[in-house]
């Protein structure tokens, strides 16, 4: 049900022949004046072939990872990973789950800004954040499934009477799949519904319209849950390290870990949504809405400053400030890690810089790297069980990790082409819908023609 039916391939659309169909709505999106309306007004699918060379290249990387993952699942953990009894957690948990889901927290941070703090201008980038979150969470769950040694016992997650409710890991194990497969999936459902509606028959449309009302009725309660759950498990990911106690260096080991982990996820959520939006606009040559991007950067910068505040107050309260400036391995890491988020926070406070695309992009990338460093370091680098051992992932382990990341990118890429994910000006949407109508007409005409032949 796409462009192939009409012989017009994806990515080859000329502007719709205006004379043929006129469905441009009487409604004028800009009627209320350009001051309230952003340039980005609606999600519009990217008009490009699905299977581009880069998608295929990424799929190859993903396939390598998946084959190795299957090999791991039919064999053992030792032969494919660098994990040992001393470093019992490797990159699948510490990077794919504990670090990358922070980048996938856009669904929480942007959603909360939009719906709880009333930032209506963020609605237009919600879908980008939601698809991104879904991809990171789903691949994170796959990583968890590959990582556990006795996955066949995981069904206990469905039996609350077997839960150890005091375990942070239990919280993660229950919350994360629930969030990804139910709440995030439902949040992403309107995109699917919309596609079905535009491509569907009148019957499909009627059915979808009937479903729309109850869905919209439940929506506020759904998204409140969709903000509650990640807030819980993103903080629990930090709480996981509390129980490791003195094995985690005192610059990182603090009762504030859950709060810091959660806030850092929020920061990365903003940061990576900016990165995704700007990269997509660059790759698919779409206009950039600097107002929205700037506002996202502003929120990110404020959050970073609060986060740094919490972090240093905590160090002061625990009396560990002295360790910051010892300039040993850990203090250096700590300083770099904080600088990676502090610099962007300060630079984005400047209105001028916050409107310069290149700077916003670089600052967002820097924040994401700093945020990922914060989430990763205490799990591995400053996790020191006091042996002469160190951990470095084995090659197959790395390939699985990369494969899962590639899978997430492919997922996002295809979603951006199939669904109205990425924001665009109103006109592009009108154009897309007009083309759709042209295609529908042509398809209809063709089927009528076929019928006549029979």
């Amino acid at each position: 049900m796409n462009a192939h039916t009409t012989g017009v391939a994806r990515g080859e659309r000329a502007p719709a022949p205006a004379s043929q169909v006129r469905i441009r709505p009487a409604y004028d999106a800009n009627a209320s004046g350009p001051s309230v309306v952003n340039m980005w007004q609606r999600g519009v699918p990217v008009d490009e072939k699905l299977w581009t060379p880069s998608v295929i290249a990424l799929l190859v990387v993903a396939a390598v990872g998946i084959v190795l993952a299957i090999y791991r699942l039919t064999g053992n953990l030792g032969s494919v990973s660098g994990m040992t009894d001393v470093y019992a957690w490797g990159v699948w948990k510490t990077f794919n789950v504990m670090t990358l889901t922070a980048l996938g927290t856009g669904g929480l941070s942007i959603g909360a800004a939009a719906w709880i703090f009333g930032r209506k201008d963020f609605h237009v980038v919600m879908r980008t954040a939601l698809v991104m979150s879904l991809m990171f969470y789903l691949t994170g769950l796959l990583a968890l499934g590959i990582d556990v040694g006795r996955p066949w016992n995981f069904y206990h997650v469905l039996m609350p009477w077997k839960w150890n409710v005091h375990s942070s890991l239990l919280e993660v194990a229950v919350c994360m799949p629930l969030y990804a497969t139910l709440f995030l999936a439902l949040e992403n459902l309107p995109m699917l519904g919309e596609r079905l509606w535009y491509y569907g028959s009148n019957e499909t449309r009627a059915r979808l319209t009937a479903l729309r009302r109850p869905f919209r009725g439940a929506y506020p309660f759904l998204i409140a849950g969709a903000y509650m759950l990640p807030a819980m498990h993103q903080s629990s990911l930090g709480a996981l390290l509390l129980l490791a106690g003195p094995k985690v260096h005192p610059l990182w080991q603090t009762p504030a870990l859950p709060l810091l982990y959660l806030m850092q996820a929020g920061i990365c959520g903003f940061g990576f949504t900016i990165v995704t939006l700007m990269t997509s606009c660059l790759v698919w040559q779409r206009p950039l809405d600097l107002k929205v991007i700037g506002a996202l950067g502003d929120w990110m910068s404020r959050l970073i400053l609060v986060w740094l505040g919490v972090r240093f107050v905590d160090l002061y309260v625990r009396g560990e400030v002295g360790r910051v400036f010892t300039f040993d391995r850990y203090s250096t890491l700590f300083l770099i890690e904080n600088a990676m988020v502090f610099v962007p926070a300060v630079i984005l406070r400047s209105r001028k810089f916050a409107r310069t695309p290149r700077i916003v992009f670089n600052m967002a990338v820097m924040t994401c790297i700093g945020g990922m460093a914060y989430r990763f370091i205490p799990t591995t680098v400053s996790y020191d069980p006091g042996h002469q051992f160190s951990y470095f992932p084995a090659l197959p382990e790395l390939l699985v990790m990369l494969g899962l990341i590639a899978l997430a990118i492919v997922g996002f890429n295809l979603a951006a082409k199939l669904f109205a994910v990425l924001p665009a000006p109103f006109d592009s949407w009108v154009e897309a819908v007009e083309w759709l109508e042209v295609e529908r007409h042509q398809a209809e005409a063709k089927s009528h023609g076929n019928a006549a032949h029979d």
Partner: protein, 313 residues
């Protein structure tokens, strides 16, 4: 002398077992009363190891291996004899030798699970695969419940649980205080039974502690810091150590008195108590969002009625 003392200990444990039955009723009370989520064992049993008595014969190591049906780890000796380099998935118990750089100070040390009073491993284990026995306090592993997440390895402050990295169906391997032998009626675990010098003995924790303190008292200065390691470390352990060299040198970590579960769950417990706070936060969020949603929904429908595009969620 030796025999009689051992018999005395056995007798003591027999008494302990009787006491355990008697205190069974008190248990329910104690579990609900403790501020920690782990039930406190009503009649904790354990080991006492004394470095000054150990001659490094490793009889306990081989006894442990055979009592637990493990394949001896002979990798380092090219298959000649059991020679584990550390605790591992085939070694629940090991004797190590510490020698100071100038060779003037040396000590053997026996390592196995400490059977913590408030075990980090069991506190973190998502499905109670590692669980503290409410009577004996022994931390045992249940393969029916374990998902193989290895969180127990990450959190154990003594680096005890080991994982079978080379197996499709991996087990978590650690000393379970020979609970299978004790359940079958044995008087003591394999390692204490095998020890020719009573360097490691078995009994009820309070009696072992009493014994250890007696040894310190009768020869002050003989033992490091004149104290028992495990009395208070990380909330206390059921395996106790007396050492003539500093504990850290024989691999016993310096730990705070507060147990790790207590540290980790201090705020967690408040936040998640009866899920009250999450529920309240949810209610507030849902309220705010619903108010905004109503407005949004109204506006969106207006636009659609005016011939505008469908609302995108």
């Amino acid at each position: 002398m030796k025999l009689s003392r051992r018999q005395a200990l056995r007798g003591a444990f027999g008494l302990g077992a009787t006491a355990a039955v008697a205190t069974g009723a008190a248990r329910a009370e104690s579990t609900s009363a403790t501020e920690s989520e782990q039930p406190k064992a009503s009649a904790p049993i354990g080991l006492l190891y004394d470095t000054t008595r150990c001659i490094g014969c490793k009889a306990c190591v081989t006894a442990c291996t055979s009592a637990n049906g493990l394949a001896p780890d002979s990798g380092a000796s090219e298959g000649l004899h059991q020679m584990p380099q550390d605790l591992n998935s085939r070694t629940k118990n090991i004797i190590k030798l510490y020698t100071s750089p100038d060779g003037s100070e040396r000590s053997f040390v026996k390592r196995q699970c400490m059977h913590c009073a408030e075990p980090a491993c069991a506190s973190g284990c998502p499905f109670h695969a590692l669980r503290k026995d409410p009577v004996s306090g022994v931390i045992g592993w249940d393969g029916e419940l374990c998902i193989g997440c290895r969180y127990c390895e990450v959190v154990c402050p003594f680096e005890i649980p080991k994982f079978e990295w080379d197996r499709f169906n991996p087990k978590v391997v650690k000393c379970e205080l020979c609970r299978h032998l004790l359940d079958a009626g044995a008087a003591e675990p394999a390692c204490t039974a095998a020890c020719p010098t009573d360097a490691v003995i078995f009994g009820r924790r309070e009696e072992l502690l009493h014994d250890a303190k007696g040894r310190i008292e009768s020869s002050p200065g003989k033992y490091h810091q004149n104290r028992v390691y495990g009395e208070k470390e990380a909330g206390g352990t059921q395996v106790l150590y007396l050492s003539h060299v500093p504990f850290a040198r024989i691999g016993l970590p310096v730990l705070e008195d507060m147990s790790l579960p207590e540290y980790a769950n201090r705020y967690h417990r408040i936040i998640y108590q009866w899920m009250a706070l999450p529920a309240a936060v949810y209610a507030v969020m849902a309220g705010v969002i619903r108010a905004r949603w109503k407005k949004h929904d109204h506006e969106a429908m207006e636009i659609e009625r005016a011939g505008g595009p469908m609302d995108q969620l």
